[in-house]
């Protein structure tokens, strides 16, 4: 057995150069032996510094300066929080009132009143529109455009002056606009307000409608003596429609009685819807038939 021995060639049992197919129904585990840096320097550890931080703080807990500093800071934070809460409360209050205003202007008034038509006879101009325009001027611009219907060939002087007064109104640029059409038409003493399909007849009823859609502007249903105001409104309605002078005189007398010595109807200190209606009715038919206290009231209403 001298000399080199020839080894048997054996069959290779394990091959290392083949791709090993890993089954995919198994969990993948992290290779803990490998030292690859792909995971970043923290690996899969969560907040490794927290413990060290706490540990380092432990030594200082008993030191008085630190405790004082901490309590002072806590106080400041508390005060800041209180201020913040106050501010939020204040802001809430302010924005709440804004929301109410917005609702009032955009939901209740603008869509309901836009494109409204008032039909009126030139012999009986609805003077109350001027008062409405004036009262509304703080919250909205009431723009009135006038048309002449073909049933009328010429306007009376009063109607023309009245139309001019309405158009002289200067709109505020930052307020919402409401446009209303005034159509001069041959329809007798009671004007018509057309909002839906049926007309609202008579100037006092027209005002009632305005008062209902703009409750904050007019003194009417929000006052204690609605019944008094209502009766004045009804008298005004009849006054315009009265045919004879005796009829008119009796209506004027009852108006005068209702007014009494108070500055406005119903003992109010501010102008009410009743004053507006009565004022317009008197201007239309009986400007020269009223007594002194009534004329003083008329001037007050202007």
């Amino acid at each position: 057995m001298n000399g080199p021995v020839n080894f048997y060639k054996t069959r290779e049992i394990i091959r290392h150069d083949v791709q090993v197919l890993l089954p995919n129904n198994m969990y993948k585990m992290k290779n803990i032996h490998g030292n690859d840096k792909d995971e970043g320097h923290l690996g899969d550890h969560v907040s490794p510094f927290e413990d060290t931080f706490n540990i380092s703080m432990q030594g200082m807990e008993d030191r008085p300066e630190i405790n004082m500093l901490e309590s002072r800071l806590r106080k400041i934070v508390q005060e800041l929080n209180e201020i913040r809460e106050d501010m939020v409360k204040l802001k809430g209050a302010v924005s709440l009132s804004e929301v109410v205003n917005d609702l009032h202007v955009e939901v209740t008034t603008v869509p309901n009143l836009n494109d409204t038509i008032v039909n009126a006879s030139p012999s009986h101009p609805p003077y109350s529109l001027l008062s409405v325009q004036k009262l509304c001027s703080r919250t909205m611009n009431l723009l009135v455009s006038t048309h002449l219907h073909s049933t009328i060939s010429a306007l009376t002087d009063e109607a023309e002056t009245f139309g001019r007064q309405l158009s002289e109104f200067r709109p505020q640029p930052n307020l919402p606009n409401i446009s209303l059409r005034l159509i001069w038409k041959n329809i007798g003493p009671s004007p018509e307000l057309i909002v839906g399909h049926l007309p609202i007849s008579g100037e006092p009823n027209m005002l009632r409608y305005f008062a209902r859609v703009l409750p904050t502007i007019f003194t009417y249903e929000n006052s204690d003596n609605v019944i008094d105001l209502d009766s004045v409104l009804d008298i005004s309605y009849c006054l315009v429609r009265s045919r004879t002078k005796t009829e008119r005189t009796s209506y004027l007398q009852s108006l005068s009685k209702k007014l009494g010595k108070s500055p406005y109807f119903g003992g109010h200190t501010e102008i009410t819807i009743a004053d507006i209606a009565a004022c317009s009715a008197i201007k239309q038919v009986a400007q020269n038939e009223i007594n002194q206290s009534m004329s003083r009231w008329l001037v007050r209403c202007e």
């Binding site: 494109d115 038509i117 039909n119 048309h147 002449l148 219907h149 073909s150 049933t151 060939s153 059409r181 159509i183 038409k185 057309i194 399909h197």
Partner: protein
């Protein structure tokens, strides 16, 4: 002799029918001869020779009589006892024994005349009167008689009648009329259940238009139509417009290209103008500032509706403006209002005459005219349950409904709808600067039907080319149109109306053929 004839004849006849015919013939002949005999007898002792007869042909003879004539419309009780000469048509005649009642007509005015046998009026004259055919023109002399309160029913001059002393025929009408004026002027709707139901239909009327036009309603319609033209001219002239005349024979179609009549033009062909628009705009580019034109317009549309004609009279206007096309739109609105006011104030009699035959509500309008935005119109329609898309055009039923809604709300038959969607307007319409789907265009409506369609036109050649391409129009075909804006053109807007349609809608008539004197439609080119 007369009465013996028929039995003789009937014996000869083979059948009963023939016998009857023969009998009738004989009777007629007998009556004729009898008439001759009678007249010849009377003529011998006629006391009114020279008071009646036929003038013969009036040829402007040198010995013509000089007479002053009175208009029937001026006859009233203040003229009682005076002697007047009247030339008028014989409307109806009715003989009763020794009297003969004649109704004379001048346009829509009628008066009754009475021929009474008397010392100066012979029986023969009464007979002559009763035989004058309807619609003949007569000269008549008579005394005005006040008939007091009872009046003459059925005549416009009811408080007087004429006692005739002379009557002469000027021009005789054939006795068989294709339509009776009375039938043609009978009210369409009558409250009286016993009134006659005879009406003349549209085609018979149009075939015999000369007779039909003699009715009071037609007289009034065409006088009013003249009024619309006059008021249009007057109003615009007062506003500083210049009247121009545009060619009616054109080389290329002015709008789009469809609906034009082609005519032979020497060796080639030409078209009949479909609209004077291009020429109006050229006049603006030529510095006329404000122009209008009245002239015939031709549309080769084969639509047989109540509101389309193939030839009609267009009243068109175009105006340069400074900054906003509303300057023009409101001028047009004013113009319409001036026309409506003029008609209301100056043509009340005519409107009433038309109203007698065709009962319609009077036309209402607002001054200044009501202007609604297209979207407001859509909102009104939506409220009534008709949805119209924001870029859709209004259909004809929707337009009518909107007209009714506007009428109910504003009580106006005339309104302007502003800001139409760009997509439904022609390529030369100026787009809205703030909203890309809208345009600076407007339609005007009368009783819910569109009478004018107008807009601000694009006056910039580059934008115009762009818009034309967008609409798929061959730019080379409209090169001339685009070129006319090359040398500077002021911003301008305008529109056009159809005279017949405006009159029809103002009066509330149901067919445009009633307001065209000799209407032209796809089925009629005569008379």
């Amino acid at each position: 002799m007369v009465e013996n004839n028929p039995p003789e004849m009937s014996e000869k006849g083979d059948s009963k029918k023939a016998a009857k015919k023969e009998a009738k013939k004989a009777e007629k002949e007998a009556r004729k001869s009898a008439g001759k005999v009678e007249s010849s007898v009377v003529v011998e002792e006629d006391v009114s020779v020279g008071k009646y007869g036929n003038y013969g042909l009036i040829q402007s003879n040198s010995q013509s009589p000089i007479r002053t004539f009175t208009d029937i419309r001026l006859l009233n009780s203040s003229l009682a006892e005076s002697n007047v000469w009247i030339r008028a048509r014989l409307h109806t005649v009715r003989a009763r024994g020794k009297q003969c009642f004649i109704v004379l007509r001048q346009r829509e005015f009628t008066v009754q005349a009475l021929v009474n046998v008397s010392d100066t009026i012979s029986k023969a004259m009464v007979k002559f009167c009763s035989n004058i055919s309807k619609e003949s023109i007569v000269d008549l002399e008579g005394t005005v008689v006040d008939v007091g309160k009872k009046g003459v029913a059925g005549c416009t001059q009811g408080d007087v009648e004429l006692l005739v002393s002379q009557i002469w025929i000027v021009s005789v009408a054939v006795s068989q009329l294709p339509l009776q004026i009375e039938d043609a002027s009978r009210p369409e709707k009558s409250d009286d259940p016993e009134s006659l139901k005879i009406r003349v239909n549209q085609d018979t009327r149009l075939d015999n238009r000369i007779l039909d036009l003699r009715t009071p309603a037609n007289q009034a319609i065409f006088r009013l139509e003249a009024g619309v033209c006059r008021l249009f001219r007057e109003t615009l002239t007062r506003k500083g417009f210049v009247e121009i005349h545009t060619p009616k024979i054109i080389s290329a179609a002015s709008e789009g290209g469809a609906n034009v009549f082609e005519v032979t033009y020497f060796k080639g062909s030409a078209y009949l103008a479909q609209s004077p628009q291009l020429y109006k705009q050229m006049a603006i580019a030529a510095d006329f500032d404000k122009v209008f034109t009245i002239g015939a317009v031709f549309r080769a549309e084969d639509s047989n509706t109540h509101r389309h004609l193939t030839e009609f009279t267009g009243l068109d206007l175009e105006m340069a403006f400074h900054y906003h096309y509303h300057e023009v739109m409101l001028t047009i609105g004013d113009m319409f209002n001036a026309i409506f006011k003029g008609l209301r104030d100056e043509y009340a009699v005519e409107i009433a005459a038309v109203g007698n035959q065709f009962s319609v509500e009077p036309f209402t309008f607002l001054d200044p005219a009501l202007v609604l935005k297209y979207d407001e119109g859509r909102a009104l329609l939506a409220e009534a349950g008709v949805e119209v898309g924001s870029e859709d055009d209004l259909s004809t039923p929707a337009e009518k409904l909107l007209g009714r809604l506007v009428k109910a709300k504003y009580d106006t038959d005339f309104y302007i709808l502003d800001k139409y969607p760009l997509a439904v307007r022609p390529f030369y319409t100026m787009p809205d600067p703030e909203n890309p789907i809208l345009s600076n265009s407007y339609d005007m409506f009368m009783r819910g039907e569109e009478v004018m369609s107008g807009a601000q036109r694009v006056h910039d050649p580059q934008l115009l080319t762009e818009r034309a391409k967008h609409h798929g129009i061959d730019v080379s075909k409209i090169a001339a149109y685009i070129d006319s804006f090359k040398y500077g053109c002021p911003p301008h807007a305008g529109g056009g109306i159809g005279l017949e349609r405006v009159v029809m809608l103002y009066l509330g008539l149901d067919n445009i053929r009633k307001t065209a004197m000799f209407p032209r439609d796809p089925k009629r080119i005569t008379p």
